[in-house]
Each structure stands twice: as structure tokens, then as C-alpha cells.
Symmetry: C2
Subunit: 395 residues, 2 copies
């Protein structure tokens, strides 16, 4: 007996959707039945690709009786409103990270879905990537003793990829803390295995032309005495994919000789409008559609260098599996290559809705990650250590 | 006109001396004229190797009129007393890191040498390594803009190498904060280019059989807004030499297939006494002497992964030179291979004494590094951020 496919409606046909499109389109447990987007060309493309209903308004999508779960991939600042709409219509929700821009909004989203008695899953984030989930499973096996310390760093040219103005404005959810720390914090929380106790962080806003946080370094302590340092630079010239076998964040092969591409491309741009055009040149319905969305993934997604120091081994999630450095030998615990990239997020969603399996990435989980991200900003601003109080632990 | 060789007396023929012996013996500006050590076999070896005076007591070495500068490589807790002895006899001093175990002792050493109007140099530490000095010089050239962030991490099996009991007792200067952070802090201070403002750190004492700090992670802020994360694990299974082209800390080629050697060797040991014997099996005068002290160095010394994020490039000191990741290209700024390993420390000493060149690694410099190390211990103990107040900046 197989479960019926989950009927999913997409709210927002932007970049989040584009990154998940290959997954959504090929996952055997999902049917794309509807979508909402203000852009008519995106709606038209969706109808052509999926023979599905489309709406200009998210409210109408949520009201569609065909839709069981709403995938909310709208701009960050609308997440709360759209989750509340989904809840009001009795729909489950999968909401992109960052979950929201304030803890108040996160709590409201959790409350709305609780009242509606529906599931709220926050993702995709890279903590869904198979190598991190596998590392967690290996840690849980007790074979390596206690987790003690985690180092995670990621060096990218994030800030020099084409951006819309709001992506460079922290108040609107721009900058790497909302966008990138959400991944890294999710990963170290997954691997740390307990609630985060405190955060001390510094952020860097080094380029007046890109006036938002482009870098940070943070020291996290956990209630189980694990500690973690997480460092990110989106201003980087060094690329930490070099330490991941030149496999990219999306699992794609990287060409180490294609150096400085993002900055070179951006240098040709004269204005914020032109930059936004560059970003929008290849959006869904305008140069990008289902049949050219196949990723060239050959390995799993990743988020830079991550090393977990345990009593009996150091564990290093890698694009091909989990590298184990144990007392007497080192070996790769291999993972089969991904057939459907990022499928883990939909597996978790389906497991919750269809089989009532407890998901990891609940609303409470997402809120705990956002509390860490907001603490990074706050600590950087006032120079203090921040104690946390909304830390769900892994179910 | 060449300067006469600096007549150097060695206080302590232990491990510090062994590591510097190839340098001392081959540097054209140095004459080894005397040594002091309580072990008669070490003294005898020194007489055979150098046809020089030897003493059982450091006081007698300091009184030797032949000696111009005393190289103090005695156990940490004697550094203050021996520097004060050197000063009392009007000798310059080169003192090994850690400079001392308290700021009070550091200040007393500085005061004693000031009163004597003699030079005090603290080293060797890895911040003398040519790649870090070269990186500093490149930063000073202004070609790369401001330094913004530094990441430094080092994963070793430090804690599982044979140790004497006091090396595993923090109160006696044991553990990786005194021994290893002294290197890493020195490096990031050199590259950060200003005084350190604050330290937040966590340490790890994970193995009851080795009851001292074996790991730490710290977040440092500088008064010029640079920030640095420094992480060390001496419990490690992963070896960060993997990221340094399998070149070891001393510049020696590492065999990546010789895995888990330290732990395997230690597992054969039954008692602390046997472990101390293992450590002492190859000391100066007992299995180790001048003619077998030649290092197999092929590259420069290093202290793990270090990356300096500047406005216009990321700079990565490497065993062969300085790897530069700039806007449009990446390249290695090569360094000639070291002919005399670690010569930089003696060059700085000679430059100060013979040519009155301002050294970097003064007593004030060493005290500032010790303040950071002590702040790492204090922050880890009480969970607070520590503000610093004894931070000399680079001359």
C-alpha cells in the first residue's frame, strides 16, 4: 500500500522554488497542483510545466481545495502572513529559511499551525543534506563517543552575486546572517545535539557598496557543553569548495580555474536596477523552466567545511559521504549519489503528514535557529554575549 | 664590516633547545659559548658538540663573562627567575614561549630587563615563521586593503604525544593554552595589526586521563575592528597538515599514510613514569646530539590553517609561501626554502642587539600574547567575555 502523492501548492516562484524545482518535479511522493506568483509569465510557465492551477494571490492558492500543503517560498518578510493564511485554510506548510525575521513572527507561525493542527516544516536548509543527517545518525550510534566541539566555516562570493536592493538591506532580511547563517546554525545545531546556551559573535560589513553583513564569526555554547565556532565570509576570494573536493554547494562540479567570476560579472553592472535585471534574467518563466532545471548534481549538497570533534573520532561530512578520522584508521562512510537532489526535505514533510513521523525541522526548530541568527546580529551590535531561551532540542 | 658573532649561553638543554639547535648551530651570527642544565650527560654532550663552558646552575651561566645573551629554554615556571638572573648580570635574554604563567611574572621580566637596559625577546613562536612575516609585510604594502577577519585552526595529536605529568597540569603551565595558543595568538596578533580588545573562549578537557585543556575555540576582537577566530584541538584525529600540503609544523614532509601513530604508541605505555621515559628517551645528551639534529625541513614551519580576509584579497600563509586569492587571480607569493630553519628568531635577536633594530617580539609583545592566553582560560572558566588591558601593538 503506497501513500497517495502529497498535493503541493507553491507560494512564490522565485529563487527558493527554482532551487527546489528539480526535487519537487521528480519526487515520487509529490504532485505539484497549484502555484501563486504575482508575475504572469511565471504563472503561465507553471501551467505549461505542470498543467496546474495558478493564482496571483497566495490567499487564493491557500483556499484551493486541491492543495494539501503550501510550500512558502515568498520573500522572507511575507513568511508569517503566508503561513497564517495556510493555517487558516487548514493546510500544512513547508516554509523556506529564514523562517521569519523576528521571534515574534516565528512564534505566531507556530501558534497558527498548532491551532490548525497542521504540520509546519522549515526548509530547505543544508542541515537536510544527507551527509549531515548521516553524521547525526553515526553520532547517535554511540560509536564515536560524545560530541565535543564543532568547527564550521564557509568562504564564498555570496555578496557579489547579483542582488536585489532588499537583499543588501538587513532590515529587510538581507545579508548573510539571515540567508547563510540560517544554514550553518541549523547544521551545528543538528550535530551539536542539544539546545544552544549562548552566542558571542562579530559581523563584518566591509563594503559600503554592499551595506549589509557579509561575514560573521560566532562562538556558540550548548547546554551539553559542546561548543562550536561558525565562520562565514560572503566577501571571500578563497573558496572553501577547495576543501570539499571542488564540489559546489548544490553538489555540482566546480571548475577551480573559473576564478573571480562573480566579481568580474558584477563589475560590468552600472546600477542597482541593472544588477536586479541581471539577477532576474533567468527566473522561472523567463529563461528558466522545468525542462532546463535539471541540476548537474553528482554529489550531495554541502555548506562548506564542517568538522565534528568527538571523543573517539573526528567526523567530517563531505559531498560524497562522511569522512571518519578514528583512533586507528580513517575512512569514508560513503553515501550513494543523490538521485533526487534535496529529497530529504520532502521525505521529512511526507513522513510527517502521511506517516505521522516526528520531523526534525519543525517550527520550533526553525525558531531556535532564528534565535541564534538574531543573537549573532545582536551580539555583534552590542558586543555582548547573548543567552538564549527559545531553544528547541532535536526531537 | 660584519658584526661579531653573538655569544649565546643556553639555559636548559631540553625540548625547546632541541628544536632550536639546528638553528643555533648553523646561524652565522651566533656562537654557542656556554650552557646550563642539571643533567650531567647533557652538559657533557654540549662540551663535546661546542667546546664550550657548561654549568649545573643557570646563575653561573648568567655570571659567565663570555655570555652576551642567555637563551632561556628552562621549564615555563622558571622563566621569570632566569630572566631576572640574566638581567642582574647585564645580559640580554631570549626567552621561550610561553613567556611566563602570570602577567605579574611577565611584567617583572620586562621591568628587570628595562632596568638593566638590555633586550628581551620572546621566542621562538610560530609568528616568527617566514610565511607569517611575509604576509604581514604584504599587508603593510597596502596592496590588499584593510585586514578584516582572520580564521586560524590547528588539529593535532598534541595531547597524545609522550608527556611529563606537569605538561598535563594547567597549574604548572601544562595544556594547549599555554603551549599552543601562545603560537596561534602570536600569529593572529601579528596579522591583525592592532591590540586585542576582547576574548571570549571555551576550552575542552575531554579526557580524564589527560586532565588539562586539550582544545579551545576563541573569538578575539581587535581595536581596529578586525576579528579572529582561533581553534585548536590537541585531541584531534583529523590532522590539519592535510590542508598544508602534508608539510608538518617543523616544515618536515609528513606521510599521510602514517595514521594514528601517537595514540598507538601511547597505548603501549602503562604508567606516567613510562610515558616520561618515552619522552626522555631522546633528549639532548641521551640519543640526541648535534650531528643527528639536522632537520629534514623542506618547507617553512607553520601552525595549521590560517586565512586572513582583507578587502581586496584573502591571504593564506602556507609552508612554501603566501597564497593570495585576489579579485581577478590567485597566486603563490613564493618564499625561498629555508636554509637555516627558524633563523628569523635569531635574526630578530641579532638585529636588536647588534643593530638596534626594533624587534617585534619584545617582552611587551610576549606579555600581550600571554594576556590573551590567560583570558582564554578565564573566559572558559567563568563564561564571560574578557576585556584586555596589557596589549602592546606591533612596533
Amino acid at each position: 500500500m503506497t501513500n497517495p502523492r502529497l498535493k503541493l501548492g507553491v507560494a512564490g516562484l522565485g529563487r527558493g522554488f527554482m532551487l527546489l524545482l528539480p526535487t519537487l518535479a521528480s519526487h515520487p511522493g509529490i504532485s505539484l497542483v497549484a502555484a501563486a506568483d504575482p508575475r504572469s509569465e511565471a504563472r503561465q510557465q507553471f501551467r505549461e510545466d505542470f498543467d496546474a492551477s495558478t493564482y496571483a494571490e497566495v490567499a487564493d492558492l491557500c483556499a484551493d481545495p486541491e492543495v494539501e500543503v503550501v510550500y512558502i517560498a515568498t520573500p522572507h518578510q511575507f513568511h508569517r502572513k503566508h503561513v497564517e493564511l495556510a493555517a487558516a485554510h487548514g493546510k500544512h506548510a513547508l516554509v523556506e529559511k529564514p523562517m521569519a525575521l523576528s521571534l515574534e513572527d516565528c512564534q505566531a507561525m507556530i501558534n497558527a499551525m498548532r491551532r490548525a493542527n497542521r504540520w509546519l516544516i522549515v526548509g530547505h536548509s543544508h542541515s537536510f543534506d544527507a551527509p549531515y543527517l548521516k553524521a547525526r545518525e553515526m553520532i547517535d550510534s554511540q560509536a564515536f563517543g560524545k560530541v565535543r566541539m564543532i568547527s564550521a566555516f564557509n568562504y564564498t562570493d555570496f555578496l557579489y552575486r547579483p542582488r536585489r536592493p532588499e537583499e543588501l538591506d538587513t532590515m529587510q532580511g538581507g545579508g548573510v546572517v539571515f540567508s547563510q547563517a540560517a544554514h550553518q546554525v541549523d547544521i551545528v545545531r543538528l550535530l551539536g545535539g542539544d539546545s544552544v546556551k549562548s552566542v558571542r559573535a562579530v559581523t563584518g560589513s566591509w563594503d559600503p557598496a554592499r551595506p549589509t553583513e557579509g561575514a560573521y564569526s560566532a562562538l556558540l555554547t550548548f547546554n551539553n557543553d559542546v561548543f562550536a565556532n561558525i565562520t562565514y565570509s560572503g566577501f571571500a576570494h578563497f573558496d572553501s569548495d577547495e576543501l570539499c573536493g571542488w564540489s559546489g554547494e548544490l553538489g555540482q562540479p566546480r571548475d577551480p580555474d573559473q576564478y573571480g567570476f562573480a566579481r568580474a560579472k558584477l563589475a560590468e553592472v552600472d546600477s542597482p536596477e541593472q544588477e536586479a535585471d541581471l539577477k532576474n534574467a533567468r527566473t522561472y518563466g523567463s529563461g528558466f523552466f522545468l525542462s532546463n532545471s535539471r541540476p548537474q548534481d553528482s554529489t550531495h549538497n554541502h555548506f562548506g567545511f564542517v568538522l565534528v570533534s568527538c571523543d573517539n573520532a573526528d567526523i567530517r561530512p563531505m559531498p560524497q559521504g562522511v569522512q571518519v578520522y578514528a583512533h586507528t584508521r580513517r575512512y569514508l562512510e560513503p553515501l550513494p549519489p543523490p538521485v533526487i537532489p534535496r529529497r530529504e526535505v520532502l521525505d521529512e514533510l511526507i513522513g510527517a503528514i502521511r506517516n505521522n513521523q516526528q520531523p526534525i525541522h519543525t517550527g520550533e526548530w526553525g525558531m531556535a535557529t532564528m534565535e541564534v541568527c538574531l543573537a549573532i546580529l545582536e551580539s555583534a551590535q552590542n558586543g555582548h554575549e547573548i543567552k538564549l531561551s527559545h531553544q528547541a532540542i532535536m526531537p
